[in-house]
């Protein structure tokens, strides 16, 4: 049974310096408020995992929380580069950032293997590209029946998964709908998990397209209305596109970013 608690308590309890932490949400239901709480609590040396590091990871990286990033596409979607990510990866500011990069198919399968309790996943992927030469966590594997050579990637089993969802009930059962991305996989793959939700309700009325994650498979649930802004929560609010665009200017400059961090997060 998930414990229903505050965001601050949940992050304090689950996220420790040096942990491997995955904040997921494929364009939808991104747990931005939880990311800010990690910054406020001053976590360091995190290995951050995410298929699509975008604004919230740029913020975590710029705030110096991360020593490593595991990802498949790092950018400000529809706008351009992640300047804090580039500054850390290219110039080591504020701290050096190691990277481990995959494709979406590889990352999705790594979570799926983690959720399934397997040490690796098999896919048709990466073939002919320069990624296997740069990423140690890509290896060939031979089909024992046909002899065909495919690609293996190791499971991802983060210490903590953090995702956002629309609703939970008082037992911590979580309901989400719309684009569900890798929400289920990352929660099931991780040793512990935190789900922030728009609201906690007495009963989860069934809804077309909705999936439910049972409360007993989740560690903590925290009610955080608006917790996915500036991304969106279908049925609650739309994506704040102006914010994505405005992030470009804030993040381009170390001083502007530092000011933003001091005034908006800490």
């Amino acid at each position: 049974m998930a414990e229903i608690t505050t965001l601050a308590e949940a992050v304090a309890r689950l996220v420790h310096d040096g942990d491997t932490v995955a904040l997921e949400g494929f364009t939808h239901l991104i747990p931005v408020a939880a990311g800010h709480e990690i910054i406020r609590q001053g976590r360091r040396d995190l290995t951050l995992v995410r298929m699509t590091p975008d604004i919230v990871y740029d913020q975590l990286i710029g705030a110096g929380c991360a020593r490593k990033l595991v990802f498949s596409w790092a950018g400000n979607p529809g706008v351009g580069s992640l300047h804090r990510f580039r500054d850390a990866a290219q110039h080591g500011w504020p701290v050096p950032l190691e990277i481990e990069e995959h494709s979406h198919a590889g990352m999705a399968n790594r979570y799926a293997a983690g959720a399934a309790g397997l040490p690796f996943a098999v896919l048709r992927g990466y073939t002919g590209t320069d990624l296997p030469g740069r990423t140690a966590t890509i290896a060939p594997i031979t089909c024992p029946f046909t002899g065909e050579v495919l690609t293996a990637v190791p499971a991802l089993n983060p210490d903590v998964a953090i995702v956002h969802a629309q609703r939970a009930d008082r037992h911590g059962n979580v309901q989400l709908w719309g684009i569900t991305g890798v929400h289920k996989e990352v929660v099931l793959a991780s040793r512990t998990s935190l789900v922030t939700v728009e609201e906690i309700v007495d009963e989860l009325a069934p809804r077309p397209g909705a999936i439910v994650l049972p409360g007993w498979a989740i560690t903590c649930v925290a009610e955080v209305p608006g917790g996915a802004r500036p991304s969106y929560a279908m049925g609650y609010y739309e994506r704040d596109n102006a914010y994505y665009r405005s992030w470009d200017a804030i993040s381009r400059d170390r001083d502007a970013f530092t000011t933003w961090l001091r005034t908006e997060v800490r």
Binding site: A108, A112, L131
Partner: protein
Amino acid sequence: MSSHSPGEMMTVAASRALSDGDRCFVGIGKPSTAANLARRTHAPGLVLVYESGTIGAKPDRLPLSIGDGVLAETADAVVSVPEIFNYWLQPGRIDVGFLGAAQLDRFANINTTVIGDDYANPAVRLPGAGGAPEIAASCREVIVIVPHSRRTFVPRVDFVTSFGFGAGAGDRERHGLRGRGPQLVVTDLGMLAPDPETCELTLTHLHPGVTLDEVHAATGWDLRVAPGLRTTEAPTDTELSVLRALEGQEG
């Protein structure tokens, strides 16, 4: 006939490459615009598949991201991200994959990872692979949409993020790749296609008003011209008005 911009020509030319009934794996930006334009003009039965897991999306406006809510709301089915890659893209169910590129080389290999020779200390760190390597591998064919410039059209990409034809003919087969790879490159100046023998990209079309010299000047290798070079048909009034209505809605 109203005048059109090079960008509009690029989008219209790409949209025409899609056939009614095709299943199309769509990225955001120009590919999404081109696919939505095709669905509103000559290909009403085009099936739009986005990597966010939306299958058969019928957006009434241009989506703002590959995970825009309008895609989920209008899709025939919404599936998880592992499922869209494993059950739908990987087995070869998709006819056309649309890709962009930061660098594209003469054998249609694509780089969206790093500019520069040193992966650890790149001149420019790009977003990375996303869904592209497996789109390039698994779709029946790939269309690349990319503005024409020497910075982009390089003899050899600094990093192969997505495999085109490797070092030339036979390389896809040697790697066991099932899709036919990039069969069309649409730029703001013209269109390129792989030579049937060598797989080297050759110029097949010039857009109206564009000269061969302009294309050579914007290409970082000695671009060969396909036999029977043609001029792309200019956008029709219908194409332009539908495209402008679409783009006016955006943002």
